[in-house]
Symmetry: C2
Subunit: 315 residues, 2 copies
């Protein structure tokens, strides 16, 4: 039998999964992320552990897929730039191949997670999907007819840096009004903190002594108590998020847009108004092909499944 | 030898080209667009004329490609909705097949023009392109690795309906702040007319007795005379156009964005500031993969070439 390893490199931990060629996840392992100079050794060591745990021979390892945060050029196997891991033009595929000579494929973590959802998660039934992760920023992965949209040198799918509000909030990328300055998890909490300062009677003060202490948990607790300020902040957030998602729906008209990241698990309070707004604002409205809005089902496993899929399913 | 017909259906005329399987355009013909109930007969008649003019037999016709304005579903061969030709769920492929039983493929006119540029025009040297037409609205055609991005039921690539300014100008689609309300040819002239009203000493008054008489020619003449008002209007136009193009560059990171439509032929006065702004604003800036900004070379012929390419080149 043939075996594959799917690797999801994150800022705090690296998750790995051992798969057989029947799409079965046989074993998992994870380790803390150290700086980039250790990553190849750490990966190699943990691949050995994975294979040993199942009494398998490394000879039967037929492919390694890697999702890596930042700008990754799959065509050269290079991490062009990663803020999280302080990597710059890091030739990870070449270095890893010196230890294990097998098929190795790398891409940006959001692209890889999208491929995971496409083959094994919420996207299984669809031909085309756009995957959107709401976190510190907004990440995107676009799968069209089984192909990952990676763009020139792997620099594509930067959907968080689509301006939705000319002359809007300043983004870390240098432009104003990027989607992620309005609709990331960070943006939601920032807006809630500002609203807190302006509204001394808000219930938000129950959940944080100082605005800078407010976190997502506290915000959603205040929202669940029907705090007026939290409600207004959340309604505005949904409008802005819907604006960006509607843009993506008009540009790609995928079968579905799949949301990932902590906020996406808030359930109907988020998804219902969002789907309604999307259905209303999408080009052609109800007369045109509907785009489904869904929540990731693989959640934190999307990365390892997608990394495995890069070895066996990628067109 | 095998022969193909590429058809570009427009609001005022239908252009047709006869091609052989060596990519050679042998003959052209065009006729005035009548309402949609005549179009199949008119196309059939003109295909016969094209073949007769070269003493060819219809038996050697191996494919017909059609670019059609509006929302077109290539998978069913149906014009779902076309404002220009007042068509609704018009099964053009089925009807034409009843007259000529050959391969027939239809898509939206901007998708088809993009495919033409990709195989025979400015996009020939590239793997991925985004084609943007600046006209009454903004049309888009996206070619990724030889595939047309058509979206579910052919409703994708509506790049003109990407909001770049939340709560901005009202668009005909019902949303506010769509790209085309800022960066179409119509938007430029509308903005110039408003500026005219507000500036009684502008040279724009030399070129139009009333604001509603101002056209593109008059606007660019006043601009060439360095009229201050026209200059300010044009600078703002370039900023807004660059905003939308930068979004597309970040989302797709194509090798090139190719512009079509009358405004795109204005030369360096348009393209230079536009390319500079794109290079400055694109995600990752100069450290990231450059996206070239170019002008269509096939111009009005992109449609018939693209329609032909749908028969022979489409992946």
């Amino acid at each position: 039998m043939k075996y594959y390893v799917g690797i999801d490199v994150g800022g705090t931990s690296v998750k790995m999964g051992l798969f057989n060629d029947k799409d079965e996840l046989l074993e998992r392992i994870s380790f803390n992320t150290r700086t980039v100079e250790y990553i190849v050794d750490d990966i190699y060591e943990n691949i050995n552990k994975l294979f040993a745990s199942k009494n398998l021979l490394l000879d039967d390892l037929k492919g390694i897929g890697i999702g890596f945060p930042g700008h990754v050029d799959g065509s050269t196997g290079t991490v062009v730039y990663s803020n999280n891991l302080v990597a710059h033009n890091f030739e990870i595929v070449k270095l890893l191949k010196q230890k294990i000579d097998t098929f190795i494929r790398i891409s940006n973590d959001a692209n890889v997670a999208a491929l995971g959802e496409y083959h094994f998660g919420r996207g299984k039934e669809f031909k085309n999907i756009v995957f959107v992760t709401l976190g510190t920023g907004i990440g995107g992965g676009i799968i069209i007819d089984g192909h990952m949209l990676e763009g020139k040198n792997g620099a594509g799918a930067e959907i968080g840096h689509m301006v939705i509000s000319t002359n809007g909030q300043l983004c870390s990328c240098g432009r104003r009004g990027c989607f992620e300055t309005y609709a990331s998890a960070t943006a939601l909490i920032r807006n809630a903190r500002v609203a807190m300062i302006n509204n001394p009677t808000s219930l938000l003060w129950k959940y944080a002594k100082k605005p800078e202490d407010l976190d997502g948990m506290g915000f959603f607790d205040a929202l669940a108590e029907n705090d007026k300020v939290a409600t207004i902040v959340f309604e505005q957030y949904i409008e802005d998020l819907a604006d960006g998602l509607t843009n993506l729906a008009n540009i790609f008209r995928p079968d579905a847009i799949i949301l990932g990241g902590g906020i996406s698990y808030r359930g109907d309070s988020l998804m219902e108004p969002l789907q309604n707004r999307l259905a209303k604002m999408i080009y052609g409205g109800q007369w045109n092909a509907r785009v489904e809005l869904m929540v990731s089902t693989l959640k934190n496993d999307a990365g390892i499944y997608g990394a495995y899929a890069m070895c066996t399913k990628l067109k």
